[in-house]
């Protein structure tokens, strides 16, 4: 039976997502700048607040104070909608991400907003919706650089979505469930990163390409096409693109943890299992975020033909081979 408490708990969970999704990028942007700084023998932001902790907040305030410019020759309505198509799916996907197990606080509460039985499909579908963000932004800006950026983004995201799907299929063959909570529960004894090492590789590389991050940051390549699809955006609208990029990175990292690194499983301290589980989940996710920054500091940008060849001639066959091996092994097991 659903009572008032259930509704209240659901509202609190939803609010938590609405707070975490915009705030997490604030931390990640600073972390990225600090880490990149250290790798380049610099210090990174250190002037605003202690250790530069308020730097991103200051940047956000600066963006908020800037002029909100809409290109006169562009399409106003589409220009307005495009950032929303980036931010909303990034926030919506978090509804199905389980950050911890079921905990007992008076009643049984699962640390997820909803345990959807087709969660993986839901997230992949939202990823497809998010493609419209760059497409609409590039088209409505009425600028050649923005259009180039959005064309690149479209081709890239659509291509790498296939390899991502194939990589996820390997995990689904093991678990036999689309629910993320079930997938994590199945990894109690062994992380899927062990049998699915190829799948993990394909998934994470596709994830980096999906989020348009280095070395696959062709859609927003500053040195080639200025800033890609968001070149005409300023102020808060640009901030929304920026926010969505980091929120998507966070999402892909969390998804990789859930699918391959055992989600919230880890050594727990008796008595506060719920808390330690959430800490484990966050620790793993942050470690993967660090890999994102690490790759950005190391690898140069791919050429466009290399990007496409890597996807279709290397990653996709690899994913299919992985899927075949998994299926055969699974068949032999049962």
């Amino acid at each position: 039976m659903v009572d008032g408490w259930d509704v209240l708990i659901l509202v609190i969970k939803a609010l938590a997502i609405f707070i975490i999704v915009p705030l997490a990028p604030l931390v990640f942007v600073l972390a990225e700048r600090k880490i990149l700084g250290r790798i380049q023998s610099r210090i990174g932001p250190n002037r605003v607040g202690p250790w530069g902790l308020l730097q991103t907040l200051a940047d956000g305030i600066k963006l908020g104070a800037k002029e909100d410019f809409i290109p006169p020759a562009g399409d106003r309505v589409v220009f307005w909608l495009a950032p929303l198509f980036m931010v909303v799916p990034a926030a919506m996907a978090w509804a199905v991400i389980p950050i911890g197990p079921e905990v007992e606080i008076g009643r049984k509460i699962g640390l997820w907003v909803t345990d959807l039985n087709v969660a993986i499909l839901y997230i992949l579908a939202l990823g497809s919706v998010a493609v419209y963000g760059p497409v609409m932004a590039g088209w409505s800006s009425n600028s050649k650089y923005a259009l180039f950026g959005s064309l690149r983004s479209t081709a890239q995201v659509i291509s790498y979505e296939i390899t991502m799907g194939v990589a996820v299929l390997g995990v689904l063959v093991y678990t036999g469930s689309f629910s993320l909570v079930d997938i994590v529960e199945k990894q109690k004894d062994m992380w899927f990163a062990v049998p699915q090492i190829l799948g993990l590789f394909v998934f994470f590389v596709s994830g980096i390409a999906e989020t348009n991050r280095a070395p696959f940051d062709l859609p927003e390549a500053e040195t080639e096409i200025v800033a890609g699809y968001h070149v005409e955006y300023s102020g808060m609208r640009f901030a929304m693109f920026f926010l969505a990029e980091y929120a998507n990175m966070f999402l892909v990292s969390a998804l990789a943890v859930i699918l391959f690194f055992g989600g919230w499983h880890g050594w727990t301290i008796p008595g506060i299992e719920g808390l330690t589980s959430v800490l484990w989940f966050m620790l793993k996710t942050l470690a993967l975020m660090f890999v994102y920054f690490w790759l950005r500091a190391t690898l140069p940008r791919l050429r466009y033909d290399q990007l496409m060849a890597f996807c279709w001639k290397f990653l996709l066959p690899l994913g299919i081979v992985n899927l075949l091996i998994t299926a055969v092994l699974r068949l032999g097991w049962s």
């Binding site: 250290r38 790798i39 380049q40 023998s41 250190n46 690490w294 500091a297 190391t298």
Partner: protein
């Protein structure tokens, strides 16, 4: 070398650099120490005996300067003694060539290691002999100290 090993070794190399100490000097708080023979601002020696300006107003530095930085106004007393009325040094035009230092016959102009010389106002950069003597004595002190945050 196999396929992909370059990426792996690159990643390890990048990570190892990340654990090194940053080479940044936090400028206003702890400025970078300069080399012994660093070419800083042109300074002015204070006369040891009188404690006054040691310039005799010969005007050789004015002539030697390729960039019209120095301007000296002198006056003569009835006995024929030359007196420096005004010594003006436009740091904004100075190219730190030190030709004036070479030209000075009484070693009044000197090399210093002072380099904290920034200001938002160009007009501030037109210095007097007092400024130059102060910077010779304290080269580590900022030229426009009142502008610095405390």
């Amino acid at each position: 070398m196999g396929f992909g090993t370059g990426i792996i070794s690159g990643l390890i190399r990048v990570l190892s650099i990340g654990f090194r100490k940053p080479i940044t000097y936090m400028y206003p708080e702890s400025p970078r120490p300069v080399a012994e023979r660093f070419r800083g601002m042109v300074g002015m020696r204070r006369d040891e005996v009188t404690g006054q300006l040691s310039c005799v107003g010969c005007g050789l530095c004015e002539t030697a300067c390729p960039n019209d930085v120095i301007r000296i106004d002198t006056s003569e007393t009835d006995e024929g003694t030359r007196w420096v009325e005004r010594y003006q040094f436009d740091l904004g035009r100075c190219i730190f060539c030190y030709l004036c230092v070479e030209a000075c016959p009484v070693d009044a102009l000197q090399m210093t290691r002072a380099y904290h010389l920034s200001t938002p106002n160009r007009a501030d950069l037109i210095l007097t002999a007092d400024d130059m003597m102060r910077m010779t004595e304290n080269p580590d002190q900022p030229l426009f100290e009142h502008l610095w945050r405390d």
